[in-house]
């Protein structure tokens, strides 16, 4: 019960901090002081108090988009185990629902973008659906490989299964999986090298351009949803990459939080030292990730 409460509290309150940490890391690399760690929270509070501007072409779909996206991400967040503790909702076969919830949220984000009738938002939507479509097989290759290792089709078992022993036994395979998962994490969350969340040119954006016309509380919901998605996929990554379980519940939580903050720092470093890829290169990298994960699957078959 305590774990469920901690799970919900961490999942609901923690995600915006990741954005703050990433921002701070990037600022440190650029030699700036940077915005405070809690800046995303202040942004959210501000946005929930602001008025909205709606485009004349929009319909109810535009308003429903952020709401459905956030709801689907929240359910996904309840399916994922955090810090070696089973997820609040856990059942056999939940990994398929997990993957498809992201499909649902993508569907609504993109139709909300198309609702504005802006060519830029259409462009962003087209890129988003195309890249995510290429990322999808990787996720399933990864999940099948992990499922085979843990002999289970429940996310809570699959993701809490990796131990130092699994790493020693199937190190190469795990390494490939971690690599593929990291690429998926960056691509799905529209981070550099796939997309630059801070870019100022609409032509080059993916996620940001889709939400150009959202304002006020709707934009707050989108921002929060994006942070939550980063948190959920980050948690998947941390669970696979960090096979440490102390047995002490609270210590596990602490390790998880430190690990996911470290992940945020890593993302910040990647964003600071890399440039955005050219759009034509992105599909190549995504297909590359799929092949990596297929290799990982092949290696565990031996």
């Amino acid at each position: 019960m305590t774990d469920i409460i901690i799970h919900c509290a961490v999942a609901l309150l923690f995600p915006p901090l990741l954005l703050g940490v990433i921002g701070k890391t990037k600022a440190a690399f650029a030699g700036r002081v940077g915005a405070p760690y809690f800046q995303p929270y202040y942004d959210l509070i501000k946005l929930f108090r602001k008025g909205s501007v709606f485009s004349e072409t929009t319909t109810w779909v535009f308003r429903a988009g952020p709401v459905v996206t956030l709801s689907a991400t929240l359910i996904a967040c309840l399916l994922i185990p955090l810090g070696r503790h089973a997820a609040p909702i856990s059942f056999s076969g939940d990994l398929i629902l997990f993957a498809y919830l992201f499909g649902l949220s993508r569907f609504f984000t993109t139709i909300a973008a198309l609702d504005t009738g802006s060519s830029f938002e259409g462009m962003g939507a087209a890129r988003e659906v195309t890249f995510s479509c290429l990322a999808e097989p990787t996720l399933f290759f990864t999940l099948i490989t992990l499922a085979r290792m843990s002999k289970s089709i429940t996310l809570s078992t699959i993701l809490t299964h990796p131990t130092p022993a699994t790493w020693f036994a199937a190190g190469a395979s795990m390494l490939l999986l971690v690599g593929a998962l990291f690429i998926i994490l960056l691509a799905e969350n529209c981070r550099i090298p796939f997309d630059d969340p801070n870019t100022h040119l609409e032509l080059t954006m993916i996620h940001e351009v889709m939400v150009l016309d959202h304002s006020g509380p709707a934009f707050g919901i989108i921002l929060y949803g994006a942070a939550l998605k980063l948190f959920v996929l980050g948690a998947v990554f941390v669970n696979v990459a960090l096979p440490i379980a102390t047995g002490n519940a609270l210590a596990d939580w602490a390790i998880f939080i430190v690990a996911i903050l470290a992940l945020a720092v890593t993302i910040g470093i990647v964003e600071s030292v890399m440039a955005r890829l050219r759009l034509v290169r992105i599909p190549q990298l995504l297909v590359g990730a799929t092949i990596l994960s297929a290799f990982a699957m092949m290696l565990v078959l031996r």
């Binding site: 709801s71 629902l97 198309l114 009738g117 802006s118 939507a125 097989p137 289970s152 799929t290």
Partner: protein
Amino acid sequence: MPTCNHILPRYERKGRCEAFVFFSVDPTICLLAAATLMAFSGVPGLVMNRPVWGQRIAAVFVVAASIVGEFAVISLLGGSRGATFQIDWPLPFGQALMSVDLLSTIFLLPLFLVCGCVSVYSIAYWPAREQTSAGKLTLFLGFFAAAMVMVVLARHGVLFLIAWEVMALSAYFLLTAEQQSSEVQRVGTIYLIATHTGTMALFAMFSLLRGAIGTFQFPASHSLSQAVPVASVIIITALIGFGGKAGLMPLHFWLPGAHANAPSHVSAMMSGLMLKMGVYGILRTMSFFDALPVWLGWLILLLGTWSAINGIALAAGQRDLKRLLACSSIENVGIIFIGIGLAVVGLQLHAPYLIVCGLFGAFIHIINHGLFKSLLFLGSGVLIHAAGTREIDRMGGLARRMPITSPLFLIGSLAICGLPPLNGFVGELFLYVGAITDGIIAPLPLAALVAPVLALVGGLAVITFVKIYGIIFLGAPRSVAAAHGHEATRAMTAPMVLLALGCLVAGLAPVLLVRLVTPAVAFYGNLAAPEIALVTDQVPLVPLTFANCLLIILVLVIGAAYLLRLRRLPRSLGATWGCGYPEPTARMQYTGTSFSEMVVNLLGAIVAPNRRKPILVTAIPPADARFHYTVTETVLDRILTPLFQGVGLAFSYLRRVQHGQLHIYVLYIFATLCVLMAWTH
């Protein structure tokens, strides 16, 4: 005279309760009555020579038939068994049998529902007051529906082929309703050639079957030894004949054109129901054998995968609304065949989880596809009425003008992408569980590769249906006609509401769907209840309901909170942000073609877009220039059409001997007789 021959007089409930009288009637009789009602539904209109009333009477007939038929299906699912009827006909093919079993229920369940919906819809969509072809269309619609019922009931090769041909030909007359159009004539001819090539294969198949067992009657399930020398040939001819009708690649080439050019309610029946008759044929043929060859499962799996990926890739590139939906039917048939393939592979590998998951996935998807594809095709009819075009890129902004059709079409789109909380997810869930379980257990998990393939197909489906929904319903109208679009009448929206409700209920309560399918799975897979339960326990049906309900509750709560917040804060209306450009027009919007351009380029090998760019001259003022973009289709446009043209050219030389001079023709006959005489001596 048909003589009733009760082989299984088991179900006796007479006099128990008035309400159950209906159930106590034999299901086969009910189904035959329904088929008769549907077959003759168009006749009153012809006889009375009052088409408007004829159409209404036909709708009443078909709806009544649908209700009778659904009762029969439900009583079959409830455990009653249909009698077997025997027709003593004067034809020299032996007595023909008709019967119904649990495999038939999977196909009859959506059939009656969709037929009822379509007949009501057609009153408003193809009104006899405006369309002179309405009488003909109503007549053949009845024949078409009745023939499909007979296909499922027939237990005799010749009877089956008769029903099959009636079905195929009435579909031809239905799809060529607009005969004036040269495009319709062209696709009609292609359809006719394709369907008869398939029938030819079926002739071969049933003849071989007769050669093997000595009668045209269908052998009992699993009674035919695989050791029969022609077993493989029978299966291959069945795959060709039935696969072509189902739209399985590479025999799908007739499908996009035929479905796109038929009237929308006919497309709904062709796509939602007729394709499944091909699936039924293959399932029935496979059930004859006691064991199946090793390669068959992998072959079906491979063909299914190929159809699924190529079908949806083709769909993503289409510009024509109905052609897009037709291509997505190829994808869905592919998914159904992936399920069947998994089951057959499971049979070989003695893997019950593959058999159960594959059959459940395939059967559930057969029902689901009947629901959502019919819904989408009926929706496309509404759109064509509203915007006067099938071009996606000329629509836009229709959600404002069509407040009922828009959410219904959205439900259909979400369902066909297999997204929760709708029904499309349930069928795919079974396939995924089967594939991933194989990935865990099997020493060499080849079947597990189905999961990433399905994920890719799902991703492409999201691209396709975001495009179709977003470009058609959202944004600003791209043409004058779209700007003046209007909502359809209730006769058109009511059937769609029913189908959409079916999608929603089946998605929220997947247990219901599984209940409907379980008897057929147990019957077809020859499995006992505990064996099935062992596998279905692994599939999260109850938790899925819970998660779906939670999702809907969350959407409602967050949505309500957002709207309340919105009410308290200042709101203003403005133009869409055009990056500083002050006067954006509707033509600057992203079109469907531009939306899918990226993925079409990635999948260039499959979709093969044909672009003709204008030569730009820098004169002032610039002259008119034209950019031409069509998505071609490999099998038809690149292989078959050139091939047939070549063959036509070759045969043109033969025409020299056919010059119209009668005395030379008589000489041919004489010469032939001489040659034959010399041959025999």
